[in-house]
Structure formats: structure tokens, C-alpha cells
Assembly symmetry: C2
Homo-oligomer: 321 residues x 2
């Protein structure tokens, strides 16, 4: 128990209280003030709504602890949740981290925890929020970590995935594919700054983050919005992490279906589309128009020769060949 | 993916939106309104603060899935968090449940999930909140579940563990000990109704829930409050789950150190103490005075013969014998 109490005290010192967290680590729960909270650049935002996101990451599924530093595991667990908050157009206010640590770990558990929380700490400092609670356990299973983040809207309200409208232009915020193989899934930058820029310029109709791949996530946004979409194959940005040696269809396939991109998928009014593209270019912000929202609830993709195909759920486009 | 989407849709149907949840299962995050929210008896409470609690429960540590129904595992995972909210004098507003399900399960995973969420559903209906998000994974490890609950203060503000004052009377809300062996830890009632009754009658100075046992948790409250305490051994209520066959010191030891009681530890002004005891008796509410808060930061226990001992951290009182 003393060890547990000591651990909690040590962690609490590393994560100072930051508004809107009033009571953080050490009580039965954390207390967050609603009402007005201070943003990272000292701007005040109305916060009559709070957003909560959560994701659980598992050794052997979302990372391989044998191959990476614990700090990267901690970083990824928080970063994927930050990506969800970016998709809701919210900045983070507090993190709650629960972990299950294997009893048989090659690394001393104190050292492991220090490194794990270093990865978390770096992101809390970068995005100006704090760790406000959590739970620490040891067991006979592999390492598991659950992160729950609270967030506060950057603009007037959170942006949902259900607001896409027929005629909207669809954008992604970066090139896609190859994330898992290259290790990019451990070091990606959650698109919080981009979300904020976008919300201040022209709030999108719908937004979500790409975790399972465009071919899986786009249908989710369209279903939530009761719409369909048509993608243009040649407009889908392919990441350098996708091997050049692959065929063109295989490269597009990778961009559509590899997953773990953690870029944003954004649906904006057609009228704002050109303006947005121009402003992004001027601001040096990465924004790629990939297609349009349609009335009919079906997902289509136009190949390089202009032919239109139905996009299968897993993005398997090899039938084109 | 279709299976995951179907699962999410099925779960969403079982957990309808309830205020203050505006957007629940299905988006990147949940949206909760701050401001005023409706309590379970239609009373409105001010909610300028939100409380967040989280606990991770693991197969083989907090329950044995080989021996119990998945619904009891789901129930316990939510109930221990409800106990934390009761200790903060907050009622629950939303639950976020992340699970890691073993790939090799003897039970079909659909059936397992149905039963798991039944245990969760029962508590959301009993205490009038909802499931508003979560994460579902499968892996090669044992079953793990993380629950994060948001809560809203029952009174003017959350009750912390740091507010105990020298002279305060210390109460517990039920007999202690034997919880793990008897299985009571799976079926206990989180003390939300009692917390509410207490807050309306006379808000306590400090409150926490007893998860690790009075001998471990009381020092935590006293440390947070910069106080000490003296317990009276003969006043510590011993649960019927503690075997009658044990010696008197062993029975007291069990009540102090078994843990998993999930009763509340409450520190109230001395002046309110007698009134509180009387009101509790009249209302048929279980409340046991176990000791007093002291200035000096040390935890003492007075044995049946009147002698005073220092209470060891783990409650090991066998030295008395």
C-alpha cells in the first residue's frame, strides 16, 4: 500500500493541476469545473458542454512492448484519444489513465511506469492539459492501458460525424497508408491545431478521425449522416510509408484500408471548399480533397480511368484489376 | 467491421440517451451538457462541476470469470465506480466502458457480451444514467474491463477526502469484512442513496469509499486532511460474512483489513454527530460511529480493554494477542 501511495504521490507531482481541473489525482474522483475554461493561448471558450472520449490499447494488438519503449505506448494511448477529441473539435482538459501491468516484466516496474508516464507527460505539456486520475493494477496478463480524456469545444459546439450534407466536399488532413508498418502509428501528431484552425475559419458540417482506414470510416460517417459519398481514386493522398514498389491499385488500397492514419476526415459545404483549399495552401496546412457527399446512401469510387465502382467495406479494390 | 458496427448499434439501442448526455454511443466521443441536469427524482441540481471516476477490473484479480456470470463482472466494474461517485456525493450521469475480450473464450463472444452488458444495464436503470461510449477489443490476454463514470454533485459541491477536521466523528455505512470470500464484492449496493440522504441532511466534512479496508483507507483520508484518528475496536461493525468461529481479534482484523467493503467512511462535525445517529436510526439507515478525528497525524486504535495501540498500515492487530 505504501508503494501504491508513493506511486500516486510521485505521479501527482508530475502532473500539476491545470484549469478546468480543480481536484486531480488522489481523491475518489477528479473535479472539473464547467462554465468557462482557458484555452492554451489564454483565449476563453464557452464550455457549456463537455466531451468524453475513451480508447483501450493492448500489448500485442496496438503495439508490441517487446519492440518499443514504454513511453511510445503511453504516448500512443493518449494520442489516439487526442485524435478523437480533434475530430470532435475539442481541446483536451483532463486525462484518466488505467493500466494493468504484468507481474512478470523484464523491466523493473518502477522504471517501466516512469517511461510510460513520460510519454503521457510530453503530450499533456504539449497540449496543456493534465492527468487527473486513473487506476494502477498488476496481474498475470499482458500490458493493457485505458485512456479516457475530457474535452472542451474549441468553437461553439462539438463537431459530430452525423452532419454531412449532400454536395459537401470531403477532405482528409494528410496522406494515408503504411502507418502500422512504418511505426508512424506511434508518433503521429493528433490534428488538434488543424481542427482549431478549421473551426475558427469555417466550422465543418461533420468530422471524424481515421483510425480504421478511409474505406471503413467514411461509410460510418455517411451512415451517421444518412448520406453516401463518391471518392476520386486519383485524389486520395498516398503516404510515403506505402512502398513505391507496389502497383498503383495496391498503393491506393493501402491508403484506403491500412488504417491507423489518425488524420481527420472532414465534410464541408461545397461553397466553402475552394476558399478552404486556398487558405490551407497559404497557411501551409495539409488538406486534400478526396471526394464529395451524395444523397444516395452508397459509397462509390471513381477509378483513374473515370469508371465508377462500389467501394467494398474493407476497401478491397483488387477487383478493378 | 460490419460485426463491430452491428455490435455498437445493438448496444446503443439498450442504452437510451438520458440527460445530461446529448450525444452518446456512436461518435468519436460523447457530449454532455454542463449547466443544470435532472436528478433521478426530477429535482434539478446545479452542475457547475463535473466529477470523473475510473477503475479497471481484471479477470483473476477482481473476479474469476470461470466461476461467475459475465453479468456480475459487468455489474461489479460499474458498481465500484458508483461507490467512488457516492463517496464524492455525486450521482452518475454517464458510463464509458472499455473491454478486452480473450479470443479464446469458451462462451460465444456474442453471448458473453450480452450478459456482460446486462449487468451494466441493470445499474444504469437503477440509478438513471446511461452508457455513453466505450471501446471493444479482442486479444490473446485475459478479460479486462475499464469503466469511467461522469457524475454531478448531489449538493452544492463534491465532498472530498481532504476535509476532515480534528474533533470530527468518523462513521462507516455498514458492517465490514469477509466481502471477497462471501462474494458480497460482486453484489454490494453502492451507497448513492445514503450519500444523498446525508448531503441533504448535513453535508459531511470528508468522505471516501472503503475499497482496500478501513485500516488502509482511513490513513489515506487522514493524510489528505492532515489529521490523525482514533478508532474504538469495539465500535467497528463486523459483517456476518466474517466467520463466527474466528477469535475476536481475528474478526476485528477481518473488518479492518479484508477490503472490498464498498461502504462509505464519513467524517462529520462533532456537533452533528448525535443528531445524525438519531436521524439515521429513525430513517432505518445503517450508520456506525467508529472513532474520532485527531490533531496528531497518527492512526490509533483503542482495544476492548481500553488500551491504545498504533494501527499498523495493513491492520495487522495480532500483536495484541
Amino acid at each position: 500500500m505504501t508503494t501504491e501511495n508513493d506511486f500516486i504521490r510521485r505521479i501527482a507531482r508530475r502532473f500539476p493541476l491545470r484549469p478546468p481541473v480543480e481536484v486531480g489525482i488522489g481523491d475518489d474522483g477528479a473535479v472539473l469545473s464547467c462554465g468557462r475554461v482557458m484555452g492554451r493561448d489564454q483565449t476563453q471558450f464557452a464550455a457549456d458542454r463537455m466531451v468524453v472520449v475513451t480508447d483501450m490499447l493492448l500489448d500485442g494488438v496496438h503495439f508490441e512492448l517487446e519492440k518499443i519503449s514504454p513511453s511510445l505506448a503511453g504516448r500512443k494511448a493518449v494520442a489516439v484519444n487526442l485524435s478523437d477529441l480533434a475530430a470532435m473539435a475539442c481541446f483536451p482538459t483532463a486525462a484518466f489513465v488505467s493500466i494493468a501491468v504484468p507481474k512478470t516484466m523484464r523491466m523493473p516496474s518502477g522504471e517501466f511506469l516512469d517511461e510510460l508516464y513520460s510519454g503521457i507527460e510530453a503530450l499533456t505539456n504539449q497540449f496543456n492539459f493534465t492527468l487527473a486520475g486513473g487506476d494502477t493494477n498488476s496481474w498475470n496478463g499482458p500490458f493493457a492501458i485505458n485512456v479516457c480524456l475530457t474535452g472542451s469545444p474549441m468553437g461553439e459546439r462539438p463537431i459530430l460525424r452525423s452532419g454531412a450534407k449532400p454536395g459537401d466536399s470531403l477532405f482528409v488532413t494528410g496522406p494515408l497508408g503504411g502507418s502500422l508498418k512504418s511505426g508512424r502509428h506511434l508518433t503521429f501528431e493528433p490534428r488538434l491545431d488543424l481542427a482549431r484552425w478549421l473551426v475558427e475559419l469555417t466550422p465543418p458540417n461533420a468530422m471524424m478521425d481515421l483510425s480504421d482506414g478511409l474505406s471503413v470510416d467514411l461509410p460510418r460517417m455517411m451512415e451517421a449522416s444518412n448520406t453516401g459519398a463518391i471518392l476520386r481514386s486519383e485524389s486520395i493522398p498516398i503516404h510515403d510509408d506505402v512502398p513505391e514498389s507496389l502497383s498503383r491499385p495496391d498503393r491506393t488500397q493501402a491508403a484506403l484500408a491500412d488504417g491507423e492514419d489518425f488524420e481527420l476526415l472532414i465534410s464541408v459545404n461545397e461553397n466553402d471548399s475552394n476558399n478552404l483549399t486556398r487558405m490551407a495552401r497559404e497557411a501551409g496546412i495539409s488538406l486534400y480533397k478526396v471526394g464529395k457527399v451524395a444523397q444516395q446512401q452508397i459509397i462509390l469510387i471513381q477509378d483513374d480511368s473515370g469508371l465508377v465502382h462500389k467501394l467494398p467495406g474493407q476497401g478491397w479494390i483488387h477487383q478493378w484489376k
